[in-house]
């Protein structure tokens, strides 16, 4: 400190900064992420998609359901940048509205999976023993249920509802999350600071919330970025089967499944939604990879 005060003013500021404000874990991660160009590209694309999805109603002059049967399917033009579908609806608008559904499904279903999975995994891992055995066997049993049949059953019982779709996908995706979190918690539980917390007489709930879960965050965030694309694909798959969103709404999966039907006559109906979906999925995967490297410096050093 004294040494630094002897140097020139300009230098002192820089040095003071670098010394006094030691970088936190998050800043470290952020710095490392910024160096990963692919991951940053992913981050930009995903942010762009989210912004577009939020602003859709204000930036497109068309509606996603308004038909112009006399117009029919037209190739990309000045009026319709990505062309129109067979019912004369603007494809760009439908892709943008579709992104709202697809991204919403992606994020909401992941949020459902996240909350159930983290809670289940933490409790199971922390308590161990019989509780653990019981909770993990439950997960195993649910794993064994065939996913499609499970979703179809839910749809039959509760009817077609977009909220249900989120719940259904979330209810299936949490299983892996619970297993991963449990594994993490098992190792964290052995750490000295947990012993210290126990010794200090902290209640279990507080230990879990303040000491265990925050330390699993790195893994969780990575897994989340990998789950979102997964869920978007699942929605596509369900819509493809006619179980997901219903017309006239659109989602990327739905647009692609319609596009396939007419891919020889009107290829743009398949190409554009497919490109948008692929770019978004790649971006999310890049971002996920980047975050893994950034949040887990041990792995990146190897």
């Amino acid at each position: 400190m004294t040494q630094s005060s002897e140097t020139t003013a300009e230098q002192s500021i820089i040095d003071l900064d670098s010394v006094e404000s030691g970088t936190s874990l998050w800043e470290d991660a952020w710095n490392r992420l910024q160096q990963n160009k692919l991951a940053m590209f992913g981050l930009y694309v995903v942010s762009f998609m989210i912004i577009i999805a939020l602003l859709t109603p204000w930036i497109t002059p068309y509606s996603y359901f308004e038909q112009d049967l006399d117009l029919g399917a037209t190739a990309p033009s000045a009026a319709h940048w990505l062309g129109t579908d067979t019912l004369g609806r603007d494809l760009l608008t439908r892709i943008m509205y579709g992104s709202r559904i697809s991204l919403m499904v992606g994020f909401l279903a992941t949020a459902v999976a996240l909350s159930i999975g983290v809670l289940w995994g933490t409790v199971s891992g922390y308590f161990g023993g019989r509780v653990d055995a019981f909770m993990m066997r439950t997960v195993d049993i649910l794993y064994a249920l065939p996913f499609t049949i499970f979703i179809i059953l839910l749809m039959v019982v509760f009817g077609r509802n977009i909220l249900l779709l989120f719940m259904a996908i979330g209810a299936v995706e949490w299983l892996t999350m619970a297993r991963i979190v449990r594994g993490q918690v098992l190792s964290i539980r052995q750490q000295e600071y947990i012993d210290a917390a126990i010794t200090m007489g902290l209640p279990k709930r507080q230990i879990m919330l303040r000491h265990v879960i925050p330390n699993t965050l790195g893994t969780i965030i990575i897994y989340v970025t990998l789950t979102i694309p997964n869920v978007i694909l699942l929605e596509s798959f369900l819509s493809f089967l006619g179980l997901g969103v219903q017309p006239p709404q659109s989602s990327w999966g739905l647009l692609i499944s319609y596009g396939v039907e007419t891919m020889e006559e009107y290829p743009w109906l398949l190409i554009f939604p497919a490109v948008v979906l692929s770019v978004t999925l790649f971006s999310l995967n890049f971002l996920g990879d980047g975050l893994r490297d950034a949040l887990d410096p041990k792995a990146s050093r190897d």
Binding site: F65, E66, Q67, L69, D70, G72, A73, T86, L87, G88, R160, G242, Q246, P247, P248, V260, E261, T262, E264, E265, Y266
Partner: protein, 553 residues
Amino acid sequence: MTARMTSRHIRTNISTRLFLVISGIIIIAVSTSCSLDWESNVESGNRDQILHYGNGEEPQEIDPHLTTGIPEFNIQLALFEGIVSKHPSNLGIEPGVAESWDISEDQLIYTFHFRDNARWSNGDPVTAHDFVYSWERALRPELGSLYSYMFIYIKNADEFVKGKIKDFSKVGIKALDERTLQVELNAATPFFLQLLDHHSYYPVHPPTIEKFGGMLKRGSQWSRPGNFVGNGSFVLKEWKLNRILIVEKSKTYWDADKVKLKEIYFYPVQNNSTEERMFRAGQLHITSTVPNEKIAEYRKTNPDSLNITPYLGTYFYRFNTKVKPLDDVRVRRALSMSINRKQIVEHITKGGQIPAYTFTPPNTNGFTSVAKFKYDIEAAQKLLVEAGYPDGKDFPNLEIIYNTDESHRMVAIAIQQMWKKALNINVTLANQDWQVYLENETQGNYQISRAGWIGDYLDPNNFLDMLLTDGGNNRTRWSNSEYDANIAAAALAVEKEERFKLFQRNEQILVDESPVMPIYTYTRVFLIKPSVIGWDQNILDQHPYKYVSLQAD
């Protein structure tokens, strides 16, 4: 070190080269063997007389007394033969099981003389008693045949169906001896002989039916491969659910010499695009339909394969008249008035279909309805205001069900939007599997359903009697006593003008009450390979397979 490295290098090089050579040989061998063995279904079918037929849907059943659909009928036509059959192109009546028949002067009593070589596929002779048994089965209310109203022209049959008469011997169907069947009608029925070729009039083999649970058992195993016994030109060979149904030439069929096809493969390909690709790849001789968007392309590049012919059928929506708000006639009329049928046929179906403003297709056996459904958005809006839903306010959400099909879906989306625009009401769409869809429709478990009605015989009666109260194919739960009386009166009427006058009145009732909403008059649009011979065009699109053959290249 270096020497060893090099030698290893050489060794790897050699092994790499060896690997390349071997794999090259394998690739060449495989590809040549492929090109030698590879033969499309159509090529091998042409050589072996095996017809590959895209049948659209998985059949619900093949029991002729329990089905109502066209995919099922396409199969039954191969497996059974009625008392008479139809000429493949002019649809004239041809001998079937009966080689001749007499009609009494007053046209009330038909006496059929069976040929002595008519045989079931197990070798038993087809007797008049078999027909009495079969028709009793079709009429027994306990079996619940949806087509039992096709028999009401026969004396006391209607009473038997409705349970007013319990004794079947009172019904006008009698076996005079093994080979003579006598049928007594209520009134002269000009189209009665045509009815006899309908699947509800097909015979079933009594010992087989009895063996698998008796006359009244639904879902019996008698119609499964191995158990099946029929009297048609083909016999059931294999049935893999959702994959294929194979029939092979029957050895016992009386006219077996004429039958040229050895086997027919029925493929339940639901997806139009898949079916079209299968056709292009030489997997199918005939498709059930053509994707709407591909019609123009085929017209241009491959007109020989494309077939667009008139087809006696109406594409329409059923309204379930017992659910709110469709129980209100004003709502039904408003819905029917606010769809632009012309746009639907021009921009969606694109196969030369004609917008339908009447339920019976125009010029059905000389009958064209005077009363017409209208396209009038303003009147529709007024009707909706009267019904208590001004500008669609508080209008409950309705659901349209349709069997999974790209074209049905597009039509439904267009109608959804037309209603939204004209009346500001919301409907949702639900696609269902063919069998589920039929079940829901029959049970009245729907609000609006997509439907098609294809003529079984050439008479307006065939369309109008579908909507009889409690008729198995009514399914709208709509009932109108005047309408029913008119159909009954028309069945007794002798003069054509008198019958047509009653039918005109019924068409007017349909327009006023709108239990159904006609959309377009069908055209038959399908793809067919030029090697198929004898697939003559007719307005009912019925093609007795014994006249069909395949031309090898």
